[in-house]
Amino acid sequence: MEALDPQIREKIVKFEEFINFKLKEDLRILEQQLDKKNTEVLEFQQLKDTIKVLKENKMDEKGFKTKVDIGQNIFMQAQVDDASKIMLNVGLGYYVEFTLDEALVLIDVRIKIFNKQIQNLKTEVAKTNAHIKCMLIGIRELQGLDPKTIDD
């Protein structure tokens, strides 16, 4: 490599540090958030499916039997007599009792919100990726160009 202006070299180092310590870190955090949201959507989707199955089989009226984990993979039989009401987690550990139809509506809304959030996160990820790309192009230009032609 040709001998570069020390100022430019310093700049390149700064850019690289910014990419590695800021942008890539941001990307990592964003991906974590995206993962979390995706799992939540999945859980809501599953719950929705269960409720649908319950309704299809008219279990909300008859009630149903199930196995409950009482800890360390030991299951005990449980009987649900009244399956028309369901307690839903509305956040921060609070549960509200809904009928199954209400629950379905709520779950749909939640899934929509989550999908939007996921969209936002995805654009954020794309932006960060683009920034990294831009920085890399910029660094390449700094290295390739004659230092005299560059004005700050």
Partner: protein, 378 residues
């Protein structure tokens, strides 16, 4: 990278390994404790459930929802046996199963704790003895852990090298080159001749001493005697200083002369030749433990000042004394590699250790004088 750096790095790695193991063990212990606690919780719950026919509860639906329901068939349980297989158990059987699990966990916990304890002990022991921080402690010989690895080949090589080193030391500390047999014989002849000449001169001096009683000698005459006695120019300064101390302290006079004579001609035959009887006694001066080689206050200092250039003819003699010393203090030695300007003493100690290790095979454990060895070989 210097040898010091390497040992430092090794210590660092070792320490890191210990810490890593301890940390890992602590993690295991923590997990096991949690495992035991949660199983005990299950037992408690089971005992409670067993008291009643049915219990109201919230039946979970996924992670996000519950149904209101109740637990039925409280004496009928499905327990995971592993690998997706479940067994149907009664409440009592389940509790027994869980207790077996807890027992196994407790055993494992004990093992981990024992291991951790021993690891910590090792670490603290190493830190105490200085093996972990050899740079921090200057005296390597104070309880430092000394490890040497060897095999037959390296041992033989070391022995050969050691022999060469010992030969170098037996002459003067400066001459490192090895002399051939012829050269050694030649040198031996020279030295014998020299000794004969010295003995001749000595007798003249002895006559002077015999003429007058030792304790009535004038200081000047003592000076003369000492000066004519003195065949070693490098000790002149020390002798002059010694004379001053003689002037100041008449008590030391006899002892000083004796010391001087002893240092120069330590042959047993010497005393019998001229028939002087010298009585040794402790000087009245209080012992001073100062390491100033140029200053002479007591007979001990003189001995120190003159003990440096020892005639090689007396080697076997001095060897024996230092061997006795070293046998009583076996821990007080240093590794040859760690000390650049090692003393003959430590060399001898190594030699002794070496031979004592091999003594099962070989009878000759007693170190022989070089000259005796030479004569035997010839």
């Amino acid at each position: 990278m210097s040898a010091q750096d390497i040992t430092k790095y090794k210590d660092f790695l070792l320490q890191q390994m210990f810490h890593k193991n301890i940390q890992e063990n602590e993690r295991h212990i923590h997990n096991l404790n949690q495992y035991i606690a949660s199983h005990q919780e299950v037992i408690k719950n089971l005992q409670q459930f067993g008291n009643e026919l049915s219990i109201d509860c919230l039946v979970p639906m996924g992670k996000l929802a519950f149904f209101k329901g109740k637990l039925t068939h409280t004496n009928e349980l499905l327990a995971l046996l592993g690998d997706e297989y479940f067994g149907k158990y009664s409440q009592k059987q389940t509790i027994e199963l869980i207790q077996r699990k807890i027992k196994r966990a407790v055993d494992a916990l004990k093992d981990f704790e024992k291991q951790n304890e021993s690891l910590k002990k090792q670490l603290s022991l190493a830190a105490e003895s200085g093996a972990m921080e050899s740079q921090g402690k200057e005296n390597l010989d104070q309880g430092a852990r000394i490890e040497e690895y060897w095999d037959e080949e390296s041992l033989e090589k070391w022995k050969a090298e050691h022999k060469v080193r010992m030969q170098g030391h037996s002459k003067t500390p400066q001459t490192q080159n090895v002399l051939s047999d012829d050269e050694i014989n030649k040198r031996l002849d020279e030295l014998e001749l020299e000794e004969l000449i010295l003995e001749g001169k000595e007798k003249n001096n002895d006559n002077q001493i015999i003429e007058k009683k030792v304790d009535k000698l004038d200081d000047n005459e003592i000076n003369n005697i000492i000066k004519t006695d003195n065949k070693q120019p490098e000790t002149q300064g020390a002798i002059l200083q010694m004379n001053e101390s003689i002037l100041s302290n008449k008590e030391n006079k006899a002892t000083i002369i004796v010391d001087k004579e002893k240092k120069n001609y330590c042959d047993d035959s010497y005393d019998t030749d001229h028939g002087i009887k010298i009585h040794f006694k402790h000087s009245s001066k209080a012992p001073v433990f100062e390491n100033n080689p140029n200053k002479i206050d007591s007979p001990k200092d003189i001995s120190n000042a003159f003990s440096m250039p020892v005639s090689i003819l007396k080697k076997s003699n001095s060897n024996n004394t230092s061997i006795n010393k070293s046998v009583s203090l076996p821990d007080n030695h240093q590794l040859p590699d760690t000390n650049e300007n090692r003393s003959i003493y430590s060399e001898i100690v190594h030699d002794i250790r070496e031979t004592s290790q091999k003594s099962e095979n070989k009878n000759a454990t007693r170190p022989m004088s070089k000259f005796k060895r030479e004569r035997k070989n010839v």
